[in-house]
């Protein structure tokens, strides 16, 4: 048995690596959370067509914007993130998700990126790519990571 293992150890390692690769591939294929961020929102929040506005699709949640934002970004990491007095803006490749407070819960709007940029330019326009100074010091000073 030991002799057989010694003779075929490379094939044994190959089998383990292939199995690991297969498990990871299956984990990617069957990962929960939909095909994209908009799909995730559609699956997890209540559609509220009566609240659709400015070309955006509306969904509602009983949880506050901070929690909804956490739920979405835990699954789909945004390319950019911005929160101000109005709400939380999440930038994805094909969508912009905006989470507004609504009573004790949230109103979640999904927009096409170009439309969102036009509508909320005064909010996100200068911050997504905030270049005047905040980003220039990103990474910290001498003690960063100390």
């Amino acid at each position: 048995m030991r002799q057989w293992f010694k003779k075929n150890r490379l094939f044994f390692i190959a089998a383990i690596l292939a199995a690991l690769g297969l498990i990871l591939t299956l984990a990617v294929i069957f990962a929960p959370g939909g095909r994209n961020p908009a799909d995730y929102v559609a699956q997890h929040y209540t559609r509220a067509a009566e609240l659709d506005r400015n070309g955006g699709r509306a969904y509602t949640s009983s949880r506050p914007p901070r929690t909804v934002s956490e739920e979405i970004t835990d699954v789909w990491r945004p390319a950019d993130y911005y929160a101000d007095a109005v709400g939380i803006f999440l930038r994805y490749s094909n969508d912009v998700i905006v989470i507004f407070p609504r009573g004790a819960g949230s109103l979640i709007m999904i927009y096409d990126p170009d439309r969102a940029y036009r509508l909320y330019h005064s909010h996100i326009g200068s911050h997504w790519g905030w270049s005047s100074g905040v980003d220039s010091v990103r990474g910290g000073g001498p003690g960063a990571g100390k």
Partner: protein, 276 residues
């Protein structure tokens, strides 16, 4: 003899190749270290630019118009890498440099929220760690302060983040505070400012969502498959090599046996010759 010379030459060439590879690897590692030192050795103390401060003030002013809550801040950064250089910033929704305590009593504030953030960066030579603190004081409901601090942590505003990047985290905190006040149920939500439609504005491209989510896992899976293929290939090569060695050994053994047999025959035949 000539085979031994060839083997010696091959061994020398392999040694040379190894030396060159090791030399290149050392150069790359040393270069990386030098670059990382140069990049991380930015000892300058960050300051809040006028534009950034104004953007925060504008946001807070808009929130004040709706909520009636007064928001203020005090940020202090002490940098011992620059002989204890100190950068301080105070302000409120009424402007940069105007602290909440400076606001005359005639100005109505339904509530007051003040963020106090302090960061101390030690020098590279110092044994002590960088430090920082983040506190939110609220009036009239003082219990709201710790709650807001924990809610800000959910948005990434933590002491650790503050130490790493004070200005960015200060801006994040100040911009998010009115939203958290709304979330806590006491104040009206601030309506968004909808810009007039303009076809000139287009969103910049960002990378794939799928890749951002699954990129790392997919890369590891591909690496696993490639390594598995490599192992199979090496296994096949090793098998062939073993078989080749076995064949050569058996041939050698066979030829050795035949020479031994022939010499034995010669030995047995020799006395016959002598007798003849």
């Amino acid at each position: 003899m000539s085979q031994d010379i060839k083997k010696g030459i091959n061994r020398n060439i392999n040694k040379k190749k190894l030396r060159i590879t090791a030399y290149l690897a050392c150069m790359i590692i040393a270069g990386g270290i030098v670059i990382s030192i140069l990049v991380s050795d930015d000892e300058s103390t960050p300051t809040i630019t006028r534009e950034d401060a104004q953007a925060v003030v504008d946001n807070l002013a808009a929130a004040y118009q709706v909520q009636g809550v007064c928001y203020g801040w005090s940020l202090s950064i002490t940098n011992f890498a620059r002989s204890g250089e100190r950068v301080e910033s105070v302000g409120s929704n009424f402007g940069t440099g105007i602290e909440l305590v400076d606001i005359p009593e005639t100005v109505e504030c339904e509530g007051r929220v003040r963020l106090t953030a302090q960061v101390t960066w030690t020098s590279e030579q110092s044994e002590s760690e960088d430090s920082g603190s983040l506190r939110i004081d609220t009036e009239p409901n003082a219990a709201l302060g710790p709650l807001l601090t924990s809610q800000l942590a959910d948005l990434g505003v933590t002491v650790h983040a503050l130490i790493d990047d004070p200005i960015e985290v200060w801006a994040q905190a100040m911009l998010a505070l009115p939203l958290l006040m709304t979330e806590n149920g006491a104040f009206e939500p601030v309506p968004p400012v909808i810009s007039p439609p303009s076809s000139a504005i287009t969103a910049p491209e960002v990378g794939s969502d799928w890749w951002r989510r699954h990129g790392m896992t997919s890369t590891i899976a591909v690496v696993c498959f490639v390594l598995a293929l490599l192992c199979v290939w090496l296994g096949v090569l090793a098998g062939r090599w073993d078989r080749h060695n076995q064949d050569t050994n058996s041939k050698r053994r066979a030829s050795g046996r035949s020479t031994r047999q022939s010499s034995a025959v010669e030995k047995t035949e020799a006395p016959v010759e002598k007798t003849e």
